[in-house]
């Protein structure tokens, strides 16, 4: 069953005669449990596609269905509500908050749930252990390596058990060895049933996914 379906999606930037068409009648369908790589040259619309799926950006035309329901995003608050508990996002630069510990950075993903303090702590600890960073729970992001930071960001993305995990160049800032370990984490998550879409320009990363979608620059 399709978890998300995009039909005839168009997206442009700029005004009137300076408009740049980035996505032109794009249609994609993603089933539950898939691990999809989205590839393409710079400017082909990969990040734009991810942002539309995540409810961060607004499409100009087409339809977007997620978990059987139509998605209509008109403003920031719509996107926040849509993403909450449904979508986890991982970005290249980790997007950690330096003033919070590793534990708190992961727990942020649960602050908008109705879980009790005890349950939040338990769930967060489970995720930290799964990602092998429990020993770092009281450290702060500036004290971590690139791989540890990305694991923390992954933890925040998955702690609320979202239906979909989106990753924009998750290994872009990492060395090869760390990249492999992160992809192992993604593979484990996928094997556990998580649906994932990974934006990447790296062939090695793409080849570890179940399907590759290639975008062409307009």
């Amino acid at each position: 069953m399709a978890l998300l379906a995009l039909s005839q999606i168009t997206k442009s930037y700029g005004k009137q005669d300076k408009k740049l068409l980035v996505l032109d009648n794009l249609s994609i369908s993603v089933s539950e449990g898939e691990m999809i790589a989205v590839m393409g040259k710079s400017g082909s619309g990969k990040t734009t596609l991810l942002n539309i799926i995540a409810g961060i950006d607004y499409r100009d035309g087409g339809e977007y269905w997620f978990d059987g329901k139509p998605v209509r995003i008109k403003q920031t608050s719509d996107g926040v509500r849509f993403r909450r508990n449904k979508i986890g996002i991982i970005v290249q630069h980790f997007a950690l908050i330096n003033d919070y510990t590793v534990f708190e950075n992961v727990e942020i993903g649960l602050w908008e749930t109705k879980m009790s303090r005890q349950d939040r702590r338990k769930r967060t600890s489970e995720v930290l252990e799964k990602l092998d960073i429990l020993r770092l729970e009281n450290q702060y992001p500036p004290e971590l390596s690139g791989g540890e930071k990305q694991r923390t960001a992954i933890g925040r993305a998955i702690v609320a058990k979202p239906l979909l995990i989106l990753a924009d160049e998750p290994t872009g800032a990492l060395d090869k060895q760390t990249e492999d370990s992160i992809m192992d984490v993604f593979k484990d998550l996928n094997n556990s049933g998580s649906t994932m879409i990974i934006i990447t320009h790296d062939e090695d990363v793409a080849n570890r996914c179940t399907r590759i979608i290639k975008l062409e620059k307009r």
Partner: protein, 409 residues
Amino acid sequence: MIFFAKNIKRSMILHWKSNMLILADLVLCALMIFIMLQNYFFMKYDYNFYYGDEKLADRYRLNVVSGESDNPFEQSSPMYKAALQVKQDLWSSPLWKTNYIVLSTIPMEWLDPDLPQIFNIQNDPTIQRAPEETGISGYVFSDAVIQMQNIKLQEGRGFVSDDYQNTSSEMPVIMGYEFKQYFSLGEIIKQGDLSYCVIGFFEENSFCFPGSEEICNLDRSIVLPRVLYSDQFGEDVQLKFSLTCDLYPLDPQTDVQNEINRITSQYGFYGMTGEPINGSAYRNTELISGKNIALIFSLTVLSAILCLVALSNILSKRTLRDQATHCTYLLSGIPLWKINFSIIIELALWTAISVSPPIALSYFEYGQLFVSPWYILGFLSVIVAISVIPSFLIAGKGNIDLFIRNQSE
């Protein structure tokens, strides 16, 4: 709730320098508002103008317009000392003479229980008193009354300054003409713990003028220099009489109100009105310390504007620096209104703390909350509410799309 607690704690630690600046700003503004309100409450009063073709008054009645929560005649009042100084200046002014007459009633048994009932005011139709009053007609005269109202003594002497100092154990008393057959000059009358000394008798058919139109016969009255048992009132009764006395300007053209204003403003005392009793008043004066109020008001407005600009600037810069964090919050599903509201909670805390110095100052100076802190809080809240607008606009423009793209480059 966890988001508010965590974010405010983070913000207080991370932005402690800007928080201290915000607090200093708000404290300065609160102090300015406090001083302005304090001066305004001190000086605010209404008085009537009596212009017209009537003759100019030669007699004025003083009134004190004090604050609701403060009685300046009580020794415990923070205004007591100022009241004493105002009294001294008013009574020693070369522009007028002062006096007061206070109506009193003395129980007959305090002088002589065997005195005939004709001395009971209820039996004397010429003496107008309340129906429930019973006893001997009594008056309290300030020291100039006998001379100013040209009341003659047949025997003995009038009151001297020592009689007003409460230094003697015996209360000096001047009696009306009809008491002569029952008491003698120099006689000491003791009744229980009360003791009187007869120092004089008025001539027959003597009169005094306590109010604007009253004429009171003194033949069956006694006159005292001070009230009996003044300490029972819990306030300085002599001071109260002295500040609610009558003024007799030596020159009818004297601007009495202006002179009263000049005296009271020296000591930061409450406004006092001089109401003309028997004519119109020459008046060319404005609200007391109007210039001071205008100056303080201008300073308050200026400090409020500076506070507003400074707060907006500090908050905007903080919000700009925090944009990456806000984007992370938005990515994690935390709504924008919570991010904005946590700023408001933080500012509300600093605003509440900033009112503490004016409260402390008020208690230190006056022993009470002279100005309600709610007025100051309300004014500061308006400043804070306007100051956060730019930071809300900045936070609202937090573009996650740009955040993701810019950080990835």
